[in-house]
């Protein structure tokens, strides 16, 4: 298992390198640059800025300069936010994003899996229809709408939560729920489908024929369903996607920095998913 993890991490290096290279050149090839605006700048100013950011050098030279810095862990200066490096920007935003992302995912799992399993076991009942309509709403309503609605009721009207900010629980609930609701709707649908597939299998009948209480029958099914869900959960979109906004700003270095971070997350997340998967399903063996 350890060797498997080591091998996966090693193969991640060329993957990251390819991602960085492609992003680097794609950004430069796209028309427009970080300093092209409607307002025409004096030629000297333009030249000075380009020199400062090495934009006047040949592309290949820029590339090697960037890769050299990257190997030392320096993601370069931001083109957009003067006097701030990409490392600083990411370091400032990352903890919050990570907290928000993981809390939302936790919320989503805690709500989505039980809801999906219950819906499957009471297929075509009122519980099932309620859970599935609710998840339909969850999937289709954008989360900023959910967020403003939550804030309106709980912070503005009832005054039990705080309108904005981050750090205290009364500030965190609204954004976590708003983001988590969408994931949970996804996960509920996944779990329901997975569970329905599992409870049709013969061993569920065996479990009932053994006279096991329904609770244990469900648990036996849930473990396998869990591995089905884990298998697909890596497809849940949006984790860390908010990083990529900077692409629109033509902030070359910030974009590549966030892309690297995002890809790193995905690689580690997928690896974690595969490990959990092997843990849940004994038929999966990595070597």
């Amino acid at each position: 298992m350890l060797r498997y993890v080591a091998r996966r991490l090693l193969t991640a290096i060329p993957v990251l390198w390819i991602i960085v290279t492609i992003t680097f050149f794609m950004m430069r090839l796209a028309p427009g640059g970080p300093f092209s605006r409607e307002r025409v700048m004096p030629a000297e100013v333009q030249k000075m800025i380009e020199e400062r950011y090495h934009l006047d050098e040949p592309l290949v030279k820029q590339y090697f300069r960037y890769m050299g810095n990257l190997l030392r862990g320096d993601l370069g200066p931001s083109f957009r936010y003067k006097d701030r490096s990409v490392n600083e920007i990411i370091a400032a935003g990352l903890p919050t994003t990570l907290q928000l992302g993981s809390l939302a995912l936790l919320f989503a799992l805690l709500v989505g899996i039980p809801a999906g399993c219950l819906a499957a076991f009471r297929q075509n009942s009122a519980v099932d229809y309620a859970a599935m309509s609710f998840s339909m709403v969850g999937v289709s309503v954008p989360n900023f709408v959910v967020l403003s609605t939550l804030i309106y009721f709980f912070a503005v009207k009832l005054k039990i939560l705080t309108v904005s900010g981050w750090g205290r629980w009364d500030q965190m609930i609204c954004p976590v729920v708003a983001l988590g609701l969408m994931y949970s709707a996804y996960i509920a649908r996944l779990s329901r489908a997975g569970m329905l597939e599992v409870i049709r299998q013969d061993f569920i009948r065996t479990a009932r024929a053994k006279g096991l209480p329904e609770r244990l029958v469900i648990m036996g099914a849930a473990i396998l369903t869990g591995s089905l869900i884990i298998e697909t959960i890596s497809g849940v979109p949006g984790i860390g996607r908010e990083f990529v906004n900077s692409a629109l700003n033509r902030d070359y270095t910030l974009t590549i920095g966030t892309v690297i971070l995002y890809s790193g997350f995905l690689i580690i997340f997928n690896l974690a998913v595969d490990i959990v998967y092997a843990f849940l399903d004994p038929r999966i063996v990595y070597e």
Partner: protein
């Protein structure tokens, strides 16, 4: 005479589907004696599985519905029991082995857990007690060095071994009755014989009464004392094994026997197969449901369903015709 462990009387089970009402089990009755062995034979889809799944409370409801009858286990009607009571009978007093050992065990749980959980729940046994019993049974069913295999997962066993595990698992709580629903269908022929032998051996050793469900008359012949032949949701003939093989009374049984390959048959003869298909159980034409395929059918067979009638000691048949004289029976 001893009381039967299980007495099923006029069981009727239907499935209310979008296509119509499926009359899966239509008035089935039988008695299973303590330590006895009863074979239930019939083509695929004739209601063999639904029969036992019904009185064990294992059919999906809806669409399934048990619409009549009784199933007395030691005098108590299983069909009248609350789900909780019936659950205490399942696996504890009546155990089931299913057809496909590859899919009948939970792939993500160890054999040790799957074998012991029933006994811990039904008998309140400790883990250690249950594991000791499980190991003893695994040895009895012929798993070599069970201590080593005990904590393995199902996929680490072969099909035949898994079916042995299933048998051991079924016997954990010392049930009074064991229902084996096509326990050998999914296995290689050589393994089939071993599994049947094992069921026989366990029956002799533990005194458990066995219901063996199969579509193969050859299988029941070697294992069962009594045979029930089912066709289209009904019992068409019941008898002790010897007399049934020597002198089948129902045209369907007669045809089934003719379609068993025989070692002493002439080589040039083609193996007999029953013409036509079993009826679907939704659109029941009037009369006997075997009439389209029956070589002996007379006019009455197309208008009136023959009831299961006792026509000799221990012999019941549902047919208007005496197939030996080819004459209609006097009623």
């Amino acid at each position: 005479m001893a009381e039967p462990v299980l007495s099923v009387q006029n069981l009727v089970t239907r499935f209310h589907t979008a296509d119509g009402v499926v009359r899966a089990v239509d008035g089935v009755s039988f008695d299973l004696m303590p330590g006895g062995s009863l074979g239930i034979v019939g083509e695929s889809g004739c209601g063999k599985s639904v029969t036992h799944l019904s009185f064990l409370g294992l059919i999906p409801q809806p669409p399934g519905k048990i619409e009549g009858g009784k199933a007395l286990f030691k005098g108590k009607d299983l069909l009248a029991m609350k789900p909780g009571e019936l659950r205490k009978v399942r696996g504890n007093d009546i155990a089931v082995i299913f057809q496909d050992p590859m899919t009948s065990l939970n792939p993500v749980l160890k054999i040790s857990l799957q074998m012991t959980e029933g006994m811990m729940i039904h008998k309140g046994a400790s883990r250690a007690e249950a594991e000791a019993r499980a190991l003893e049974l695994l040895r009895a069913v012929g798993i070599p060095s069970p201590e080593k295999r005990f904590h393995d997962y199902p996929h680490q066993f072969s099909g035949g071994m898994r079916q042995r595990v299933m048998i051991a698992m079924a016997l954990m709580c010392e049930p009074a009755a064991l229902i084996a629903d096509e326990p050998t269908t999914a296995l290689d022929v050589t393994i089939q014989a071993q599994i049947l032998e094992l069921i026989q051996k366990m029956r002799k050793e533990t005194g458990v009464a066995v219901i063996l469900i199969t579509h193969d008359l050859g299988v029941v012949a070697s294992v069962c004392e009594d045979i029930l032949v089912m066709y289209a949701g009904r019992v068409v003939e019941s008898a002790a094994t010897g007399p049934l093989f020597a002198r089948p009374l129902h045209p369907y049984t007669f045809s089934l026997l003719r379609s068993i390959p025989r070692l002493d048959a002439e080589r040039k003869e083609r193996l007999f197969s029953i013409p036509g298909l079993p009826p679907d159980l939704i659109h029941n034409p009037p009369g006997c449901s075997f009439n389209p395929r029956c070589p002996f059918a007379v006019k009455r067979c197309f208008s009136k369903e023959p009831p299961l009638t006792e026509i000799g000691p221990g012999r019941k048949v549902a047919c208007w015709v005496d197939i030996e004289s080819k004459k209609e029976r006097a009623t």
